[in-house]
């Protein structure tokens, strides 16, 4: 034994270093890194030369100087504001279209995904045609198409109106909104009272349940008062609150909300909510395209739940709705969430295509800033950093959510 290990040690010293795997591993990595550093250095020196050629020193001070260009939509902004503020407007616009797009795409995606599994032949195939068509046509083409359509809408005076509340014209889409009236604050106090009443009801019910069972159950098995609230009586909170809230609507002297419809005043529509043509086209494009992908994610997620699970659920006598709610959906959600996350990320990144139709999102404003200042390198850094931060936060949140639901799935 001792002898054997001795010869092995001798053997390993006999291997020349250039054939020793331990040496080679380190050697190749160092070689690789040196190559990388040389490449980076080469690019860096080229960059310095290039910048000198263009007379543009790397400098971030331009960010605080006056931007001087207008932005067609977004948060409060003035051309006299700084470049940094302009960039921020772009970031907010990107986040805005992404969030609204994700909500719509999720709703339509789930509808079409479930429709693809319908027992109705017609519904199933309509959904399949929708998915196949919109998945297989480039998003940019779809966005151009919707943009052309919104631009071809009639002039303001000939607007298309739908039941007096939705208005379509060349300036965009107008939707009615709800607006607060002076009575809103009174109603708010009813809501507050509702919360308090709901808490009282839950506690009273829990007390009845807790002390009513004192005699029945042996005191060591008796659940705590808190668990009585959590598992026994928390259901009572929502209905109590809703009853008070609805009663409040009738008890206030005038309704707390009024519907604010878009109305023609002079040469423009005023009131309600206005989506510009660019925003509408981009939103429709992103929603339709992404929902086709989400539909596929949902369909494959539901189909991935093994058939035996459904059959077993039916065998123990669950109704069809219960099979879905209790057996299929809880098991398919963990399968759906990871690919759904990547679809959300895709939507956020695809919102950069708005730049092609003039929606003032991050990339569009960044591009304008580059053209004005020539500081392409730092601006590109800012653009990429913004997208990376958005991607990383979204995927971190969805990973956390996924972790949570998969854990619930395992523990119950």
């Amino acid at each position: 034994m001792h002898h054997a290990s001795n010869t092995m040690a001798q053997n390993s010293t006999n291997i020349p270093f250039y054939r020793d795997i331990r040496f080679l591993k380190v050697f190749f990595q160092i070689l690789f890194l040196i190559g990388l550093i040389l490449l980076a250095g080469f690019l860096y020196s080229n960059m310095l030369h290039g910048l000198r050629r263009q007379n543009l020193p790397l400098d971030l001070s331009f960010l605080s100087s006056e931007a001087g260009f207008g932005i067609s939509e977004g948060i409060d902004y003035d051309p006299a504001d700084s470049y940094l503020k302009a960039f921020w407007v772009g970031v907010v616009n990107t986040v805005k279209i992404s969030i609204i797009g994700i909500i719509f795409a999720t709703v339509f995606g789930f509808i079409f995904g479930i429709a693809r599994l319908s027992s109705n032949w017609l519904i199933r195939n309509i959904a399949a045609v929708y998915v196949e068509i919109f998945r297989n046509i480039p998003l940019l083409l779809q966005i151009f198409f919707w943009a052309a359509l919104t631009r071809a809408l009639p002039m303001v005076t000939n607007s298309i109106t739908i039941s007096d509340s939705i208005v379509l014209n060349v300036r965009g889409i107008y939707l009615p909104t709800l607006e607060r009236t002076p009575e809103f604050n009174t109603w708010l106090s009813y809501l507050f009272a509702g919360i308090i009443l709901a808490i009282i009801v839950v506690f009273v019910l829990a007390a009845f349940r807790h002390f009513g069972r004192l005699s029945e159950v042996h005191h060591t098995d008796r659940p705590s008062f808190i668990s009585d609230i959590i598992f026994g009586t928390k259901w009572a909170a929502a209905p109590t609150f809703l009853i008070v809230a609805i009663a409040g609507l009738f008890l206030t002297s005038e309704p707390p909300f009024v519907v604010n419809r878009p109305e023609l005043q002079g040469f423009n529509y005023v009131g309600g909510m206005n989506f510009t043509p660019e925003f509408s086209a981009l939103l429709i494009g992103l929603t339709v395209y992404t929902s086709a992908f989400i539909a596929e994610v949902v369909r494959s997620g539901i189909q991935a739940v093994v058939k035996g699970q459904r059959e077993a659920a039916r065998a123990v006598g669950l109704k069809e709705s219960q099979v879905l709610r209790l057996i299929v959906i809880p098991q398919s959600i963990p399968i759906i969430v990871p690919p759904l996350t990547s679809q959300y990320l895709n939507l956020a990144k695809n919102s950069s295509l708005g730049t092609a139709i003039g929606y003032p999102e991050l990339l569009h404003i960044g591009h304008t800033m580059m053209n004005q200042t020539g500081q392409s390198i730092p601006i590109f850094g800012m653009i990429m950093a913004s997208y990376l931060i958005m991607s990383l936060t979204t995927s971190a949140f969805m990973n956390w959510y996924n972790y949570r639901i998969t854990r619930i799935g395992r523990s119950s």
Partner: protein, 416 residues
């Protein structure tokens, strides 16, 4: 309730068939399905009525035949169009040989492509005549009839070559490695023929239309695949330096939109290049497409690598295979087979993503469609043009996903 069910007489399964039975089972089996069916029928009625009325009465389709050549090859000079036809005929030869040598799925796919070519031969799309169309084609001082005849001859020649080489290559296994070699060389060969040399060469600034889209997609697909495999292997490497560099690269690229890379290629690239070296626009866009897709490809391949059991690697090491051999002959064949749908999905994405080069000013299929629409003659014809272009994209993407399903079924992925 349960007791009653047991004592009830169970009817034998209904074996009746026929359209009425089918309707009952598939459209009217429950009350809510009946309602849904009725709603869907009303919806379809209005969609078809509106759509067909528009297509046959309101749409003005002259814009398509009048601009067909532009949409297909862009500003590529028509006197040099033979280069494209030569490339197409070469591809038909390779396809025919592959179909003959491999048979099976390869035969079916190539036959489908040939049939598609035959359909194109028979569609009289470019024969439609009207004053504007005549004008658009006659600009090149060629006779329309002659041009159309020439096109048909080339296409027919390609199809004949396909059939001839199919019979030549039938059951000749020795040809296999030659055909594979031919496919490997086909990309540089294509580029050389399309570009040409000397005074007759066609610079990439004249490349456009469907032709440019296909070149971008084909080159992108062939280049991003090996790069993606390397990155995937790099990310799973045991050498930390390589692993971290690959991981950072993949995650950074996947975190930003493709369009930023494309704009970077057109704005930043010149700054980072030494002196007067200027790569042409198409090549820079192609590079951005490849570098972008490779990161996604790497993630797909990595999924496949994870599915290969560790025992396979250990067994390969035990019989003394080196790392490259282990990967090439043991791990990758199994890994790639498991993720064929994802890889083809990535190819489809890449094909659709080529349309983004429109934004940096290249005249690919979408870009050229926009330039046609910018022409005052065809103002407002955007629905016709976009529908036509969308149909072309759809045919290619759908064909790819269909082929992927067939390959999947053929290899029995998920069955073993």
């Amino acid at each position: 309730m349960e007791n009653i069910a047991i004592t009830q007489e169970v009817k034998p399964p209904n074996t009746s068939k026929g359209p009425v039975k089918w309707l009952q089972d598939n459209l009217f089996n429950t009350w809510y399905n009946t309602i849904l069916t009725c709603l869907a029928l009303v919806f379809l009625f209005f969609v078809f009525k509106g759509g067909l009325t528009w297509i046959f009465t309101q749409a003005e389709w002259e814009v398509i035949p009048a601009n067909l050549q532009i949409l297909m090859i862009g500003p590529y000079p028509i006197e040099q169009a033979w280069r494209i036809w030569i490339v197409l005929c070469t591809l038909f030869v390779l396809l025919g040989l592959s179909a003959g040598v491999w048979k099976g799925l390869v035969l079916r796919i190539s036959a489908a492509i040939a049939i598609f070519g035959l359909i194109l031969l028979l569609i009289p799309l470019d024969v439609v005549k009207n004053s504007e169309a005549e004008y658009a084609v006659l600009e090149f001082n060629f006779n329309i009839i002659y041009l159309i005849f020439l096109k048909r001859t080339w296409l027919l020649g390609g199809l004949v070559l396909f059939i001839v080489t199919f019979f030549l290559g039938r059951d000749k296994n020795v040809l296999k490695r030659w055909v594979i070699g031919g496919w490997v060389l086909s990309l540089p060969y294509t580029m050389m023929v399309l570009h040409g040399f000397g005074e007759n060469s066609v610079s990439t600034t004249h490349w456009g239309g469907l032709f440019l889209t296909l070149v971008l997609a084909a080159a992108g697909i062939t280049m991003c695949f090996p790069l993606g495999v390397l990155l995937a292997l790099g990310r799973r490497s045991q050498l930390p330096a390589i692993k971290w560099v690959s991981t950072i690269y993949i995650e950074t690229i996947r975190g930003v939109p493709l369009i930023t890379l494309l704009i970077m290629g057109s704005v930043l690239f010149p700054i980072f290049m030494p002196g007067d070296l200027q790569l042409d626009k198409v090549l820079r866009a192609e590079l951005a497409l490849i570098l972008f897709s490779a990161a996604y490809m790497a993630e797909n391949v990595r999924g496949g690598l994870q599915a290969v059991p560790q025992g396979q690697v250990e067994a390969a090491q035990a019989v003394g295979l080196t790392y490259p051999k282990t990967m090439l002959f043991i791990v990758l064949p199994q890994a790639l087979r498991a993720v064929i749908p994802a890889i083809v999905g990535q190819f489809i994405s890449l094909f659709k993503d080529t349309s983004l080069v429109t934004i940096i000013g290249l005249l690919d299929l979408l870009g050229i469609a926009r330039s046609v629409l910018a022409n005052p003659t065809w103002q407002g014809r955007y629905i016709e043009v976009y529908l036509f272009v969308a149909a072309i994209y759809f045919v290619f993407c759908y064909a790819m996903s269909y082929v992927s399903q067939k390959i999947e079924a053929d290899l029995g992925v998920g069955k073993h």
